[in-house]
């Protein structure tokens, strides 16, 4: 039962990732695309959490933590670049 629920949840999150890809390709401006990319980061963390529960292993959570940190740092860096034209002044 829990396995079926987890597979359904992973399908829903996969659909969400496809919608994010659509928004990433469509978004008219650079902040739109960056927002779509950041949402993809968060959704991949959600997918990894579901897969960790599915396989009953905690191996994936460190990867999820790494993805969270990389997503935050890269998004803020690109925002900083858009705001100032430079990342480290």
């Amino acid at each position: 039962m829990l396995h079926t629920v987890l597979i359904v949840a992973m399908l829903l999150i996969g659909l969400a990732l496809l919608l994010n890809l659509l928004a990433l390709l469509r978004g008219p401006s650079l902040p739109d695309r960056l927002l779509a990319l950041y949402t993809m980061y968060i959704n991949s963390i959600a997918l990894l959490l579901c897969y960790g529960i599915y396989g009953a292993s905690q191996l994936h959570f460190e990867a999820a933590l790494l993805i969270a940190m990389l997503g935050f740092v890269s998004t803020v860096a690109v925002c900083k670049f858009m705001l100032r034209g430079d990342i480290i002044e």
């Binding site: 039962m1 829990l2 629920v5 987890l6 359904v8 949840a9 992973m10 829903l12 999150i13 659909l15 969400a16 990732l17 919608l19 994010n20 659509l22 928004a23 469509r26 401006s29 650079l30 902040p31 739109d32 960056l34 927002l35 779509a36 950041y38 949402t39 968060i42 959704n43 963390i45 959600a46 959490l49 579901c50 960790g52 529960i53 009953a56 905690q58 959570f61 460190e62 999820a64 933590l65 969270a68 940190m69 935050f72 998004t75 803020v76 925002c79 900083k80 858009m82 705001l83 034209g85």
Partner: protein
């Protein structure tokens, strides 16, 4: 199937639905300022629900101590508002258009970018 497994299943489905809702909002809403609401609120709530489900599963059902998920949730709940703030600052800086229904549009006019 125990009561704890039911709780985990409900939390997982709820989390996945909220994550999907955030992405649907990202595709459907009209302009950047409204589009920012989906990923920063709905998706964060969905991820919090998933993390809670994972904590209950590993600590309750599997019976092993596991706190990395808590770290992920803590980090995301701290960084999501910061990212949203930076994104909206970049959007205002680039003078993205808001839809006509948006109130207080004069706030967008006050933030003209400085001449380079």
């Amino acid at each position: 199937m125990s009561i704890l497994e039911w709780i985990v299943a409900v939390l997982v489905i709820l989390g996945a639905l909220f994550v999907l809702l955030g992405s649907v909002a990202l595709v459907k809403l009209p302009d950047f300022y409204t589009r920012l609401h989906g990923p920063t609120k709905a998706t964060t709530l969905g991820l919090g629900s998933l993390v809670l489900a994972s904590l209950l599963f590993f600590n309750g059902i599997q019976g092993e101590l596991s706190l990395q998920q808590l770290l992920i949730a803590l980090f995301l709940f701290i960084t999501a508002p910061v990212t949203a703030y930076m994104l909206i600052k970049a959007g205002i800086h680039q003078q993205l258009k808001a839809t006509a229904a948006t109130s207080r549009q004069e706030l967008l006019q006050q933030h003209k970018p400085k001449a380079q």
